[in-house]
């Protein structure tokens, strides 16, 4: 761990009772869902983590509790530091408070997490689908959503797949 990151980690562990994990030089801090807004505010204002690099989620189905893990990646430009903050979200009615008031690029990032995983963000100004069509059903990046794999046509099954395939006539 870099020495400049120490005061940030100590402040986070003291205020939010978080767990710290380090692997191959990346530092990960796990906090509870209610404290993410306060943590983001503290990181931006006191410790100068001014860039929200990315925000994504991981689905651990069939483990039900916690099923999702939402990952926020903060970058400090002045101190050249990276910090991941992890929040665990249960599988039933998943929801988190929004951080769009603190980082403006969270507007689209949270929309993407809603679209792909189905995690709602309370207080988001505009929570609609962003990458899939507006009337799509389902959340594609969940593990129980099928890939949509289409069987390749080899010579032995060419005709039977050909009959099933929708071709445009005109």
């Amino acid at each position: 761990m870099k020495p400049e990151l120490e005061p940030t980690i100590q402040a986070l562990t003291k205020t939010f009772n978080s767990q710290v994990n380090e692997f191959r030089g990346d530092v990960r801090v796990t906090i509870l869902a209610e404290s993410i807004v306060a943590a983001a505010q503290m990181l931006r204002d006191e410790f100068d983590f001014s860039l929200l690099s990315t925000m994504t989620a991981v689905d651990f189905w069939p483990e039900e509790n916690p099923r999702f893990e939402v990952i926020y990646l903060f970058t400090s430009v002045s101190k050249i530091l990276n910090l991941s903050v992890l929040v665990q979200v249960p599988g039933i009615n998943p929801s988190l408070p929004t951080i769009t008031g603190i980082f403006k690029n969270a507007v689209w990032r949270e929309r993407e997490v809603w679209d792909m995983f189905g995690i709602k963000f309370e207080g988001h100004p505009d929570l609609r689908r962003i990458l899939m069509p507006a009337d799509w059903e389902g959340h594609p990046l969940r593990k129980d959503y099928p890939l949509g794999y289409e069987e390749p046509q080899f010579t032995f099954n060419f005709e039977e797949i050909d009959l099933r395939k929708p071709y445009a006539k005109e």
Binding site: M132, L147, G148, Y149, E150, P152, Y167, A168, K169, E170
Partner: protein, 160 residues
């Protein structure tokens, strides 16, 4: 050959109506600017000075479907884009042709999942398929020459 030569010396050309119509359709076929993804970059490179496409009369890609005859679907078509593609095809006036450029437009390509339409011939009828990921500009030009062959063999009575 005697009569034709004498007529040619007088400045007259004899041919069938079909040949003239087909010849004129191929000589200035205007493509619709429909580059979606990576194949669009190779299409733009084919438009550039190295692999010149303006010798086929195609240097100007019309952005409006009402003014174009040829739709080169260059790139992967996602589920959200599919209705837009169909709408653009419907807006093009007859006669119109479609070239599916690249693997993703022909058959889905590298991608086999929920988001990509496996082959644009599920949506519009395709005349020429060009393979490659992305196909070289020479492959695109070969596809266009094959389309010219196809158009030159068109019979007027098929379209009546």
């Amino acid at each position: 050959m005697g009569v034709e030569q004498k007529l040619a010396n007088m400045g007259a050309v004899t041919t069938t109506l079909e040949t003239v119509v087909n010849w004129s359709r191929t000589r200035a076929m205007w493509p619709l600017l429909f580059g979606l993804a990576c194949c669009a970059i190779e299409m733009m490179a084919a438009e550039g000075a190295h692999y010149d496409m303006s010798r086929f009369g195609m240097e100007l890609m019309r952005p409006s479907p009402r003014q174009s005859d040829l739709m080169i679907v260059a790139g992967r078509v996602s589920r959200k884009m599919a209705p837009v593609l169909r709408r653009l095809y419907d807006q093009m006036p007859e006669p119109k042709w479609v070239i599916a450029m690249g693997d993703c437009a022909s058959c889905g390509g590298v991608f086999n999942n929920y988001a990509v339409v496996a082959g644009v011939d599920e949506i519009v009828p395709v005349d020429i398929y060009i393979a490659g990921c992305p196909p070289r500009p020479e492959a695109l030009i070969h596809g266009i020459m094959t389309l010219y062959d196809k158009v030159n063999h068109n019979k007027i009575k098929d379209q009546a």
